[in-house]
């Protein structure tokens, strides 16, 4: 088991290196750099650019050096927790980002838990009551969840929360806690706000998961060992719990790997619409102003989150199913 985890973590490293190269290429892609567009902007406004300061920043962040060195600086900095410098805010990225990374993680974890809590019972119900009205109804609801774009759902929910309950559901916490250190009141405020984005983001993921869980479970229910168990007179509930459910559980854990990227995508878009204090709004702002270090760090962070999520789901899977941890060495 330890050997498996070790190998699994090792294979993660080249993936992360490749991701960081890709992200760095994206950072470098726009013609010119932030300074050029910044100077142009200032000149358009008729102000003098502080050329000395800009020249200093340029040197400090190695913009006069070749790309390979810049990449090594950037990637090396990230390893030591230095994510570069946000040129727009004129602060290190670490300070600009602040709580946002943590809130993104909290939001993602809660969304996954929500998805699980919802998808598991619904999937089982749909599979065991195949072609019943309940199955059709739930399938239809799920399809709606897949088809309605996240941002629309967010907007519409915002509207209904406003007209029906008179509450404003934007943001993740009440305004007065924004720059406060963590306190019990702040946590409460966050908890009272966070469920709405969790529901919105979890919707599409839940729908997809129910669909796949149902298909998977249906496959299992048709297998001969289930028939045998039933023929021997085992109670149907017990058959379900002892055999097919365990098989489905496997899939259930590994499926996180496939819905996680989509979920984080959805979270970003939803966060922008609801103006949550997570990475989404800041990412898009950074992209629009070509503050590429900030944007790059966010991209890297989101990818990292996904890779870690998949890693955790893989390890959990190995705990659940001995076949995986034993077969891993030869098949991969």
């Amino acid at each position: 088991m330890i050997r498996y985890i070790f190998m699994r973590v090792l294979t993660m490293i080249p993936t992360l290196v490749l991701i960081s190269i890709l992200v760095f290429l994206i950072i470098e892609l726009p013609p010119g750099d932030f300074f050029e567009s910044h100077i142009a902007e200032l000149q358009a406004l008729g102000e003098d650019a502080d050329l000395a300061e800009i020249e200093m920043l340029r040197e400090r962040y190695g913009f006069d050096q070749p790309q390979v060195i810049r990449y090594l600086n950037w990637a090396g900095g990230m390893l030591t927790g230095d994510f570069g410098y946000s040129f727009e805010y004129r602060l290190p990225v670490n300070e600009v980002v602040g709580d946002r990374l943590w809130l993104t993680i909290v939001l993602s974890v809660l969304t996954i838990l929500f998805t699980w809590a919802l998808a598991f019972p619904i999937g089982i119900y749909s599979a065991t009551h195949q072609y019943s009205w309940g199955d059709y109804g739930l399938t239809f609801l799920g399809l709606i969840g897949i088809a309605v774009p996240n941002f629309m759902l967010a907007l519409v929910m915002m509207y209904f929360a406003n007209t029906w309950f008179g509450i404003s559901i934007g943001n993740l916490m009440d305004r007065q806690y924004l720059n406060e250190p963590l306190s019990w009141e702040k946590v409460q405020s966050i908890l009272s706000h966070i469920w709405i984005p969790v529901v919105i983001i979890g919707m599409a993921g839940t729908a997809g998961m129910v669909r796949r869980l149902r298909a998977n479970l249906l496959d299992e229910l048709d297998k001969q060992y289930v028939v045998t168990a039933k023929a021997k007179g085992l109670h149907p509930k017990k058959v379900l719990r002892k055999y097919p459910l365990r098989m489905a559980l496997n899939f259930f854990v590994s499926d996180i790997g496939s819905i996680l990227p989509a979920m984080i995508s959805g979270a970003e878009v939803t966060a922008i619409v609801l103006s949550l204090e997570t990475t989404g709004p800041m990412l898009i702002r950074a992209l629009q102003s070509q503050d590429m270090y900030l944007a790059g760090s966010f991209l890297m962070f989101l990818a990292f989150l996904t890779v870690i999520g998949v890693l955790i789901s893989d390890i959990a899977l190995a705990f659940l199913d001995p076949r995986i941890r034993l077969g891993a060495g030869s098949s991969k």
Partner: protein
């Protein structure tokens, strides 16, 4: 002859026997044992088609999508107005319902003319129907002039408002542009971007996945890693980053191509994986070995023997990835980093409904989300049906 039938023939003479004059078909018995024989003799393509026809929902979704795509060719003709026509005196007009009966008498589809007043308290324009002003809709008529596909000038429409009147069946936006017409024009961009993007990722997926699956070795290892990397970066932020890089100075058409390429370039991974795993299993089949022993080159083996074996699966998989692209384009445009205005796509139209206030005051601006949802649902059902049909022997 009949009287000698039972008698023995003369010695040495040939024995007479009865031959019926009725038409005879040796396969008659089997052929008329209809369903089974038809099934046994049908080609694989035919079997798939039958299987697909059985999936009623998927079939009708296919028809629906076909019609939607057909409108793309004649958007200018179908839309009552040109997408850019601004009716500056009727901004934020609510949808005008179509009536058939006026004061109990049937006069065909018409709308009532309207009076406009400004609510001095909320500064909203209030439109009230003028029940004496009947404006029958005209069909196959001359209306706004347009350049068909940007080339051929014309002014022929399927439906236009009465002369001097107006008919905004789905209301107007902040510049007084007809939402219905803009949605019809928007289909052109939103629908084609999905198809073009999938075509691109399809080609990439087959070529890259095919090479990886057939040759294996270092190429396979590298491809697997790259796919893993691309799949572990959440797609929308990545699309956002790449879309943000497209220079502002590009013309709308270039931006359109750029966005399509971005969507397609990052989406081939799933298809490539499917191709690779299929190839890996097909590679061990006897008929592939036979082809190789007869000296076929690997290109021929892949193209002639293996690809037909899983093409149907691939098409089904590709169909299921189109919705993600359409949603991706919509989300990017909605956030303001995808396509840009003069072009109108459903995502761009939805940017008009960006805030809660707008939704509360002018809910009809949300209409373009309806075709988005319908098309995505239809593609999902169609893909499911195709996937079932892809394996007709099951």
């Amino acid at each position: 002859m009949s009287n000698t039938q039972n008698a023995l023939p003369e010695p040495g003479a040939p024995m007479g026997h009865f031959v019926s004059d009725l038409p005879f078909d040796p396969n008659e018995g089997e052929a008329q044992n209809s369903a089974q024989a038809r099934f046994a003799q049908a080609s694989q393509r035919q079997l798939m088609w039958w299987q697909f026809r059985k999936h009623k929902v998927a079939y009708w979704c296919g028809v629906f999508l076909f019609l939607m795509y057909a409108t793309v060719f004649i958007s200018e003709f179908l839309a009552p107005y040109h997408q850019d026509t601004r009716n500056s005196d009727v901004i934020y007009s609510p949808p005008q319902p179509v009536h058939l009966f006026h004061e109990g008498a049937f006069i065909g589809p018409f709308v009532y003319g309207r009076d406009q007043t400004l609510d001095m308290e909320t500064l909203r324009r209030v439109y009230t129907d003028d029940l004496t002003d009947v404006q029958p809709l005209r069909f196959f008529c001359q209306g706004d002039s347009y350049d068909f596909w940007g080339v051929i000038p014309g002014n022929f429409h399927l439906m236009c408002p009465a002369k001097g009147g107006e008919a905004f069946l789905l209301g107007t936006d902040r510049l007084g542009r007809d939402v219905l017409s803009r949605t019809i024009y928007g289909a052109r961009i939103s629908l084609t971007i999905g198809i073009l993007g999938v075509t691109l990722s399809f080609v990439l997926g087959i070529v890259i996945g095919g090479l990886a699956g057939y040759h294996g070795g270092w190429f396979d290892a590298v491809t697997q890693r790259v796919i893993e990397v691309l799949q572990s970066i959440p797609s929308i932020p990545l699309w956002m980053a790449l879309a943000a890089i497209i220079p502002v100075t590009w013309s709308p058409i270039l931006v359109y191509i750029g966005i399509t390429v971005i969507l397609g370039m990052l989406d081939w991974t799933g298809l490539a994986r499917a191709v690779r795993s299929k190839l890996l299993s097909l590679r061990e089949e006897d008929y592939v070995l036979a082809a190789r022993l007869m000296g076929a080159k690997s290109g021929r083996i892949i193209g002639r023997h293996m690809v037909p074996g899983f093409m149907s699966h691939l098409i089904a998989t590709a169909t299921l990835t189109i919705p993600a692209m359409i949603l991706g384009e919509t989300a990017l445009s909605f956030l303001g980093i995808g396509l840009r205005a003069p072009i109108s796509s459903w995502g761009i139209l939805l940017t008009e409904a960006r805030s809660v206030n707008i939704i509360a005051l002018y809910p009809w601006l949300l209409f373009p989300v309806v075709p988005v949802i319908l098309v995505i649902l239809a593609f999902n059902f169609l893909g499911d049906g195709l996937r079932d049909a892809a394996d007709p022997y099951k």
